[in-house]
Each structure stands twice: as C-alpha cells, then as structure tokens.
C-alpha cells in the first residue's frame, strides 16, 4: 500500500501545452454569444430602412416617416412584413429560447447577473421589439386613416 501511494505521488502526469483555442473561447464566453441559425444582422435591414426614411422626412419637403412607410408597404407588402414582423418575431423567439436554455445551463443564476452577462441578447430582443412596434403603430394608423 505505501508503495502504491508513493508510485501515485511520483508518477509522471501529462502536462498541457499552451492551448490555442483558449483565446477564442474566452471571446465567446465574455461576449455571451451562442450558435443560432439566424443572424441578428437581419435586423439591421429594418433599421437601415427606418434610418433612410427618417433622413428622407428631414430633408425632403412634405415627406414624413409615416408616408415613407406606407409607400414602402404599399409597393412591397411582403417584404415589409418580412423585415418588420417575420424576422424580428423569429429572432425574438429564438433569443428567448436561448436565454431560457442558458439560464438553466448556468444553474439559474441571480437575474441581475444574468441580465448583465447576457446584455447583448437582451438588446437584440429590444431592437427586434422596436421594429415590430414601429410596424404595428404604422399599420394601426393606416387602418384608422
């Protein structure tokens, strides 16, 4: 028995080389990124269009954000629904599922810590909801008019 203990103490152990994947994993964890079939950059299309309409309403006389949106949804009804409803809703649902899974995987941490760590994902949901809200406001105004 003492011999076996000594042998365990003296036994050579594998030492790790400098791990190359360490830097990449560090970035992934700190940024709280996760794999998703949806790229959040799809949301940028909607925001780009809204930004263009805002600029148009500021610099083109007689143009308003509402007119631009109505004009676009009149000419491209399916694309408007896609960029302002389908994509934001899908991204929101995907983010919510991911957050739920991460929350469970991380052993149900305190909400404050979780929100801070997953800030990027919450901001994505916020941005998606903003696009949906914009679309619904203009759709409601259109139906009233």
């Amino acid at each position: 028995m003492p011999d076996f203990k000594d042998m365990l103490d003296e036994m050579g152990k594998p030492e790790l080389p400098d791990l190359r994947h360490k830097e990449l994993l560090e970035k992934m964890i700190v940024r709280g990124k996760d794999k998703s079939i949806l790229n959040v950059w799809w949301l940028a299309i909607g925001f780009y269009m809204v930004a263009a309409w805002v600029m148009k309403s500021a610099y083109v006389p007689g143009m308003t954000l509402r007119h631009s949106m109505e004009d676009y949804s009149g000419r491209h009804p399916y694309l408007a629904v896609l960029f302002f409803l389908v994509i934001p809703i899908t991204i929101t649902i995907s983010c919510l599922f991911t957050l739920r899974r991460i929350f469970r995987d991380a052993g149900r941490p305190a909400w404050k810590d979780f929100v801070r760590a997953m800030a990027a994902r919450y901001l994505t949901i916020g941005a998606a909801l903003l696009l949906i809200l914009l679309y619904l406001i203009f759709a409601t105004l259109k139906s009233i008019a």
Binding site: K5, M11, T98
Partner: protein
C-alpha cells in the same frame, strides 16, 4: 490585484472576466482532462465551467474560499455530473456561435493532437486513470485532486466543501480501491 478588487471590477465590467479566464483556464482544463481522458468532452466541460462562473460571478462571495477553489468546485461538479450521467456531454460548445468556425476547429484540432501526444508518453498514468474512472465518483474526485493535481488535503476539503478528516478517510479507502482496480486490470 486582490480578489475582492477583481470581483468588483468584473461586476462593473464583465470583460474583466478575461483576467480570471487567462489565469485559470489552463489548470482547470488540465484537471478535467486528467480525469476524463477525453479531449472533446474536456473542452465541453471546461467551457461549461467558465461559462457558469462568468454568469454566476455576481453571486460569488469570497467567504473564505478563493476564486481558484470556486472554479475547481464548479469543474468538479460538472465532471461528476458527466460521469454520473453516463458521460453525456453538456454540449456547451455547440451553443457558442461559430463565427470563426474554421479557426476554432483548427485550433481545437491542434490542441487535441498536442495533448494526445503528451498523454501517449504517460502509459502508467493512463492505466491509473482507467482504474480511477471505474471507481465511484466520490473517490474519483478526491484521488484526482490529490494525486493528479497534487493538491493538499486542506485545499481538497475546501474544493469539495468537506471536513479534512472526511477527505483523509475517503482518500485512504480510495487509494486501496484504486490499487485493486489497477492491479486487477494490468497486473501492476
């Protein structure tokens, strides 16, 4: 930097978690690998360990234990779960975005080759590791921390949140069981 200061810094700036990651990823990865002997599962368990630590850091209050002990505790729990659930992987890595997919795969493959080459040079260790893996988890964790990581009894007691006397007693019984397994398997 003092741990308390570091924790305060991380609470205000989560990116400072890099300091902890840089300091402890390698030893934690090594600890898990020396227990499991499986590269991909180790990468997964190590990622889960640091991922949980990152999210739960706000809850961590250094009441007598250091960040290092806390990380070893998380890694031990994750590895124990892995063994208890028939080595089912957590798939934490799959969760992360493969924005640099090819770079990621290349670096992981390179690390695997280097680590396996290192492991090949330690045949005796491999036999002990195989014997260890066939023991109940309560012995595995103590023996690995003591003989693979070279931790003193006091630190093992902190990591496992048990009394030193309990550790000594489990260690003594564990060594005997391990000796039987190793001798039985390889005619040591």
């Amino acid at each position: 930097m003092e741990e308390v200061e570091l924790l305060k810094k991380i609470k205000h700036d989560p990116e400072s978690f890099r300091i902890i990651f840089q300091q402890f990823y390698q030893p934690i990865f090594g600890y898990i690998y020396r227990r499991t002997g499986h590269f991909e599962d180790t990468a997964d368990l190590a990622a889960t360990t640091f991922y949980k630590a990152f999210i739960n850091l706000g809850k961590f209050v250094p009441r007598g234990i250091s960040i290092k002990v806390w990380l070893y505790r998380i890694a031990t729990n994750e590895t124990n779960l892995y063994f208890r659930h028939n080595r089912r992987r957590t798939r934490a890595l799959a969760m992360f975005e493969a924005s640099q997919a090819s770079e990621w795969k290349q670096s992981l493959a390179g690390d695997k080759i280097a680590i396996q080459a290192e492991m090949e040079q330690h045949r005796r260790f491999q036999r002990v590791q195989e014997g260890l893996k066939s023991l109940p988890v309560r012995y595995q964790q103590i023996l690995a921390l003591r003989y693979f990581e070279g931790k003193p009894t006091k630190e093992i007691a902190e990591i496992l949140d048990k009394k030193e006397g309990t550790i000594k007693s489990l260690l003594s019984r564990g060594v005997e069981k391990l000796r039987e397994k190793v001798q039985l398997k390889s005619g040591w």
